[in-house]
Amino acid sequence: MDFVQNFPAVSILLCLFAGIISSGLKKNAARFLNRILLLTELFLNGCTLGYVLRTGESYVYVMGKFPAPWGNEIRAGVLEAFIALFFCIIMLLSLEGGVKKLADEVEKEKTFLYYVLCDLLLASLLALVYTNDLFTAYVFVEINTIAACGLIMIRQNGRTIEAAARYMIMSLLGSGLLLMGLCMLYDLTGHLLMSNIKEQIAVISEMGEYRIPLLVAIALMSVGLSIKSALFPFHAWLPDAYGYSTVSSAAILSSLVSKGYIFLLLKIIYRVIGFELFCSSRITDILFLFGLMGMIFGSLSAIRENDVRRMIAFSSVAQIGYIYMGIGMGTQAGMTAAVFHILSHAATKSLLFIAAIGLTDVSDGSRQFIKLTGAAYRNKWAGVAFTIGSLSMVGVPLFSGFISKLMFAQAAVQNQMKMLPALIVLGISTILNAIYFMKTVIRIYTPVEELKYEGITFKNMKIYAAALVCFMVLNVFLGVSSQPIVDLIEQGLAMFS
């Protein structure tokens, strides 16, 4: 066994230990440890990605001494390592971009707790990405929920506590359904490891037995995970949670937490149930339908919104709808597009959140549109970043959003039944996106007569500007050189089954 094969397990354990150690540290030390941890994670996951790309096949890492049907396992393939690496990058940039705001909004003696929560969140995300055991996945889903709830609540005001309560309630409904589905699947197959369950499900479905229980189990797990990732009718908690929490939390929640659940759903589709069986179960149609509804209603709510942070939050609902539409198409191309959109949305949405905070800061801290007039002249970096994020969301070529829309459209054409609704809704949604994002961009570039505020230059916000630049580069990189990444995703998905 090569030494590199230990890295996924080590990366999860490192996060857990860092979380424990941080709980006894002072504010700056905890922040320092968190940065060291994230850089180490980048290195470890990068090495894992390099290793699996070189060998060209995934490998299974046994945790502990018990072999396959009994023990616990980690599995690393191209897609897992790539997503883990990407999550680490986004988390690092989101934290750097929001660090100044964090100091303003969170009580000093509680700041170290923020880093404890971030470390634990990263541990649970990595575990969700790498695990090969369904019950382990469930436990880390719950850790993820608790850490995310803490990230919402760490800024103390009435709104965030209420948002956290609503978030917890929705998440608990979702994880209850997920757990029930897992238990049923365990009863049907007698296994908890993904690969073993898949073998048994193949046997069961060949014999034609337990049709309905299997369908119910699949439905429970899909619905549970889609509730947790805020698919359209279950998004009531989302605007408050993203709109009022501190900005790093909003960026992390929208771009990582919900994506972690979607990635787990993808793993369940490919590694547990089997792609063909899942597509023939008609659950794809339901996900497709709700995805389409989310795309339209999320955008409509965003247009009506008068608060820029809440507007971006509602736009997340629409983007989650895109991802579920891709999954719902039930084709390989649709899945590839969905995974690409996970990346593209993660890079764009955190950029938008962090740029928006720069704009509101130079407008008396008000988030109302009317106050934002001309904000881009007062904070040039944030203005440019917000514009790039908006263009990417609308789907202008050169940016990542364009590629994902193109891929969704290509995937839709391949599916006779779903082509027309998908293309129509994609068109409508793009127009709606353009309405509310371009409205904001025009407003922030509308000149105002008197300049009451000092302009902010690069000097007094080096870290913030650097984070924004990194996000923009990432966005353009995803948009310009998409082909290698798409190849990577296709290779990874092929490795899944």
Partner: protein, 124 residues
Amino acid sequence: MGANLFNNYGEAVAMILFGIGFGNLLLQSNLIKKIIGLNIMDTAIYLFLAEKGYIAGRVAPIVTDGVQDMEAYINPIPSGLVLTGIVVSVSVSALMLSITIRLYQRYQTLDLDEISFRLKKEGL
């Protein structure tokens, strides 16, 4: 179908309880009732697991009197899952209760809809 339902009455009860808990967690507006719903839902899942792991005529998998025979004991894995699940559900309930206390201290009410209404009026 009917006979199956009667033979597996434990699972049927678990499912009904799950529905009750789920409905309470979703629909009640009182936070404490929501948490009770959450606990009913989780307990229903444990009942389901315990019911599935039990094999009539066998005992809990703790070796006593040196009986090593596999046929003497029930399946231990569902019991392990139940234990893990209980740990998760305890921590989640504790977190929910602490959020409830915070909200009650601020707004002197447990009604989530009322709290949302007041927040809108505050216009924060």
